[in-house]
Every structure is written in structure tokens, then in C-alpha cells.
Symmetry: C2
Subunit: 371 residues, 2 copies
């Protein structure tokens, strides 16, 4: 392995590929390439599609927009270990958000492709971390049948990566954002969610706070100068958990299949925040969302001590915070939520009243828009 401080410019393309391949060989399905399939290294890969169709999605991430090489809270860390950790978080998140999109169609992930452009000065440890993060997400999120099947390397002044993921529907119809045509326009429907909301946004707030200020706010170096009640010892653990969810979001793969079997009429994953994405789901069906204030309160209560310490609003995190990759599903009203899901509101008839078709949500941010 290249030494500490090595950069990709010193390895050459073949050397970088070796670093990537070593990590990608650790995903569970990598040891078994079925007859007739082709992995990385050729003009293109060949992936099995037993269903006679495949699900496919792609996401691009740009340095300093969608990920960072360093976080303020981590500014004191330097060297290969910090580079590896930063790359790992980026790779994990890129893989997780694509696997989440595959899951949101009711499919099982089968393949990942990585298109990566980066400067020659990029630390090898960062690239190694990126690959380990991708492989780690595939492994730990339980994408047992998913292989890293291909990719592309290019040079650029800054790092950009685009991940494409594919999936298999196993003979079931895909569950879309729009309700099937047969559903009457006035049929009452519930909105259920698998996964938590607001944790990744809370983690972002933790990671965006400089380390010294963070420790003071969390009470470690606190001198009692703040007028707010001193946060309890649990707030440190909460901050670490939230940061972990921002670094390594954990979409529940398989939840799409579960919801589909339970009769989900429509599904969508939450990448830009419950407020915004539920609003999109409603708008796609000519409806509006009514979020259950009780759900927001209950979800926010857990994050409340951390929000108080950081001077933030936990309800805003829950309603507007993105990157938790929960799964929204629409069920006929009154259907008991399948295992892992909770009812968070309903879709009502009528055109969107509030922005993005949401009512019942707290005032505040409306999630993420690129332009």
C-alpha cells in the first residue's frame, strides 16, 4: 500500500484502480459473478436482470456542495486517518442515497457504478476511504446481492462523484410516486414513514460547529455562562449519534419490498426533508399533505436536548432536515402500518395550499433546492 501522505497523482490510473478494487472485493456478492455477467475492467459491465427489467438511478455529488473534505468540528484532525474518514463518509452517503432510491421503487439493489473525477493531489487515503465507505454501506445496509460492477476515473480541479445503482423487482410491479390509475381521486390515504427524520440535519449542525464551541455548548468546557438549563450528559451521546447519521445515513433496505407487500399505493424516499418530499409526493397526485403534529412533536422530543444546546429548533430538523433517507409510503386509510413504519399524516384532496402542498408543519426551512 502507498505510504502516508501519498496522493493519487503518484499512483497513476492503474494504481488508483487497484485501491478501489481491493475495497470493492469486500462486498458480500463480489465473490460470486454469475455466468454471463461481466464486472469492471471491460468497455461495459453485464449485470443479471432475472425480472426481465431493471431499476436504475444516478446521483452526482460535488465537493463543497454535497460533501466536504473537512468539517469545522474536525478541523484539528489531519493526516491519512482523517482523509480516510472523510472519504468513507462521502462514499457511504453516495452509496446509501442511491440504494435508498432503488429501495423506494420496491426493488433489491444489484449493482453500483462509480464515476469519479478528482485532482492528482487527492490523498490516496481519501480514495481508499471512499471505496471503503461504498463497500461498507453495501455491506452494513444489507444489500446482499449488490456488486460494484463498473465505473470511470477522470481528472478535475475538484472532486466530483456520480454513483449509479441498479436493482431487481423480483417480479413485482414497481411502486411509483403516483398512485395507480385505478385509485379513486377521493379515496382517503395515510402517509407512513420507515426510519427517523431530523437526525442527519442535527448531525450537520453538530459537524458545522467548530470543535471548541461545540464542546462548550455541549457542556464539557461550559462555565455556566449560558442562561439555558445545562444540557445533561446524554447530549454528548446524542451529538455523536446525530453526527454518525449525517456521516453514515442508514436507509432501511428491504422496507420498500415490505411496504409493497403491505399494499403501498405510492412510495418515495426522503432525501430533501419530510416537509418537501411529502409535499412532492402529494403534488404528484394532485393532493396536499397534512402532517400529524403529534408525530413531529414525538420525533423532535428525542432531539430536543441537542437542539437546545446548539440553539436550534428540533421541530425544524424533523420537518425540514434532509439526508435521513427514510421511506415514505402511501397506504389506504386505516391500514395498519407495516413493521418498521409509523403513520405520520395523510394526503388530502385539493390543490396544495401551503408551499409544496404541506399543511400542519412548523414554520421554517422548506428543505433543499439546487438552484
Amino acid at each position: 500500500m502507498p505510504g502516508c501522505g501519498a496522493v493519487v497523482g503518484g499512483l497513476g490510473e492503474a494504481g488508483v484502480l487497484r485501491v478501489l478494487e481491493r475495497r470493492f472485493a469486500t462486498v458480500p456478492a463480489a465473490g460470486d459473478w454469475p455466468e454471463g455477467t461481466v464486472g469492471p475492467g471491460d468497455d461495459a459491465a453485464v449485470v443479471a436482470a432475472p425480472d426481465g427489467r431493471f431499476v436504475i438511478t444516478t446521483d452526482a455529488m460535488a465537493q463543497d456542495r454535497d460533501f466536504r473534505l473537512r468539517w469545522p468540528a474536525e478541523a484539528s484532525r489531519r493526516g491519512a486517518r482523517a482523509d480516510f474518514a472523510a472519504g468513507h463518509a462521502t462514499g457511504w452517503k453516495a452509496a446509501a442515497q442511491n440504494l435508498s432510491d432503488v429501495n423506494a421503487m420496491g426493488a433489491t439493489p444489484t449493482g453500483i457504478l462509480l464515476a469519479l473525477t478528482m485532482p492528482g493531489r487527492t490523498p490516496v487515503a481519501w480514495v481508499d476511504g471512499l471505496a471503503a465507505g461504498i463497500a461498507g454501506a453495501v455491506r452494513h445496509l444489507g444489500a446482499r446481492d449488490c456488486r460494484v460492477v463498473g465505473g470511470d476515473l477522470g481528472s478535475d480541479d475538484r472532486i466530483t462523484l456520480a454513483i449509479t445503482a441498479t436493482g431487481d423487482l423480483g417480479g413485482r410491479p414497481p411502486v411509483r410516486r403516483t398512485l395507480p390509475r385505478g385509485v379513486p381521486a377521493d379515496r382517503p390515504v395515510d402517509l407512513v414513514l420507515c426510519g427517523h427524520a431530523g437526525w442527519s440535519a442535527a448531525g450537520l449542525a453538530v459537524l458545522d460547529t467548530p470543535r471548541a464551541e461545540l464542546l462548550e455548548r455541549l457542556g464539557a468546557g461550559g462555565t455556566g455562562s449560558s442562561a439555558a438549563p445545562a444540557p445533561g450528559p446524554g447530549v454528548h451521546r446524542l451529538a455523536a449519534l446525530a453526527a454518525g447519521r449525517q456521516w453514515r445515513p442508514r436507509p432501511v433496505l428491504g422496507s420498500g419490498r415490505v411496504a409493497a407487500r403491505a399494499g403501498a399505493l405510492a412510495m418515495m424516499d426522503v432525501s430533501d426533508g419530510v416537509l418537501k418530499d411529502a409535499g412532492r409526493l402529494a403534488a404528484a397526485n394532485g393532493r396536499r399533505v397534512e402532517l400529524d403534529p403529534e408525530w413531529i412533536r414525538a420525533e423532535a422530543a428525542v432531539l430536543e436536548p441537542l437542539a437546545r444546546a446548539l440553539g436550534a429548533d428540533a421541530g425544524d430538523w424533523v420537518a425540514a432536515g434532509g439526508e435521513d433517507y427514510g421511506l415514505l409510503a402511501v397506504l389506504p386509510a386505516g391500514t395498519p402500518p407495516p413493521a418498521g413504519f409509523r403513520r405520520i399524516g395523510r394526503l388530502l384532496l385539493g390543490s396544495p395550499g401551503a408551499p409544496d402542498g404541506v399543511t400542519g408543519a412548523p414554520a421554517g426551512g422548506g428543505g433543499w433546492d439546487h438552484f
Copy 2:
């Protein structure tokens, strides 16, 4: 449509999507989404894979590395038409190189995904041109069954795009870079090529020459000060043709199927130059390449007047120039080349002697490496 000088920051994400969708609706297959498939707008797309497998490839392109917003020879052009033309060339090339990879496995293109990150100041005309270029390549290169099935938009300080293409093998085995296991190590094999070589490199030289200097070199504003023989009138046409090949490379889709039927043992498309890619093909099989000097001379002869005017070596263009996206195929020695292919050399036993396993090639550049 947005007015002249509009930028994507003024349109918002939904507005940019509308610009893209309008162009993507013009590809031949876009009017017909088979039952059970899903196009853009959901968490993921669903694409038919009648073969029970699919071919998939991805390529990333970064501004000022893999494409440019302006070329020196075009520096006098400004405004929406120039932006559209620059975007068109970028979109066409991005699509063409991915369709070429699908073709090189012996498959027929079925889908394209576009992941695009760009600044808010990007001209709408550039994005419109990009989409028109992608759709134009799909249409003009004859990818009749190929739809634009999905994508992702993000913001960044500069433009990066990653295109993913998928294909169907129609029940045939994929043709890989490596010879099938059953082929004896000492079996003599020929190397054949579909398409021309060197034209895109010649076009790059044309586009990289400032307009005034270019006109003088091509003889329009020439005062006879040059000692070289005056280039004939044909050299202008040659320059325009070459520039067209750099802007809009034309891989022959279907050539992969043709070669596979003719018994091709291995295939690979030429993206980084014949010298380099034939060397890779040879090295992947523990062989070395002997290029036919007669083929290089004949191929270079056509470009010779342009090379003389620009002070370049036509033989270098042919041997080392990339981005023509010809298709290299390996056939049992003596097999008549299938329609559209010419014999350009052979693969010989033994480890690579020259760099990249090539002998018989002129001295000079060795094609493109990213790091």
C-alpha cells in the same frame, strides 16, 4: 422558452428539467414506454431487459478537462447560439462515448441517464444544447431503442456531467476484451477496426488554433510567407470535417453486433487512441500488437494536407489520437473483415516489447492517461 442570456439560476430545478425533457422527448423511442417500465421523475427508472441481463457503462466529463465552454478557433462567437453549440458538442460526445461502450460489448443501447452538476450562472442555452446533443447523438447514431430514462441535477462551481448508458445483448454472449478461455495461446489473430482514426485529434488541432492563425495557415489570409507548399482549397473542407468529428464523433452503432456475428473473439472501442487501446487489448491477452504500417500510411494520407498546414504529423494523429470511437475487434487470422471493418494489424505472442505492447507504430504520443 427563456429569453436570450437566461441562466439556469433563474429557472429553478423544475425549469431546467422542462428544458431537458423537451429535448429528450425527441429521441425515437421516447414516444413508447413499454408496460412495466418507468421513465424520469420517480426515485428510479425501470428499463426493460428482455435478455435477462443488461450491459451498463458510465463516463464522467469535467469542464476544461474533457470539454470546453469555448474554443480558441470560436473565440469570436458569443451569445446563445454559441452557448447552444458548445453544449450540443458536449452532450453529443458524452452520449456517443457511452453508446460506443455499449456497442463494444456487442449490445444495443436501451437507456441513458444524465447526472449534471453546474453553477447557477450556466446559460440556459448551453443546457438546452447539451440535451439536444444527447438526443441528437441517440437519433443520428441510430440508437433506435434508446430512451433517456433518468438523471440527477446538482449545483457546483463548474460543470461536470456523468452519463450512464445501458444496453441489451439480445441473447448473444457479451464480447469482452479478453479472448475466450477456449482460444489456444498460440492461435494467430488479426486486429480489425470499424471507423477512422486520427480525425478527432486533427479536429482538436483545428479547434485549438486561434481563428486568425487558422485562416492564415489554411491559406485564406495567406500572403505566401510560408515556405511550405500552399495548401489546396480542399484543406478548408478537411479542417471543417475534422472539427466536426471532434465535436460530434460518430461511433458506428451496430458494428459490435456485426463483429460478434462474424466471430469476433474480443472487442474494445478506441477512446484514447489506437496505439494505446490496441496495446491495452493486447496486454489484456498477454500479447503484443503489430500495427500494419501500410494502414497507418493510408489513413494518414487523407489527413496529410491538413497536418502540413498546421505543422502536425498526420501519422501521430492516426496512431495516437483519441475520441474517434472506432471499434477494435480480434478475429481468427485470415478471417475476411466484416462489412465496415478493415484489417489494421495483428496480435502477436509474447509480452509487450514497446510501451503498451505496441510495435510498428510511429514514434510520438501514446494516447491519454488521466493521472
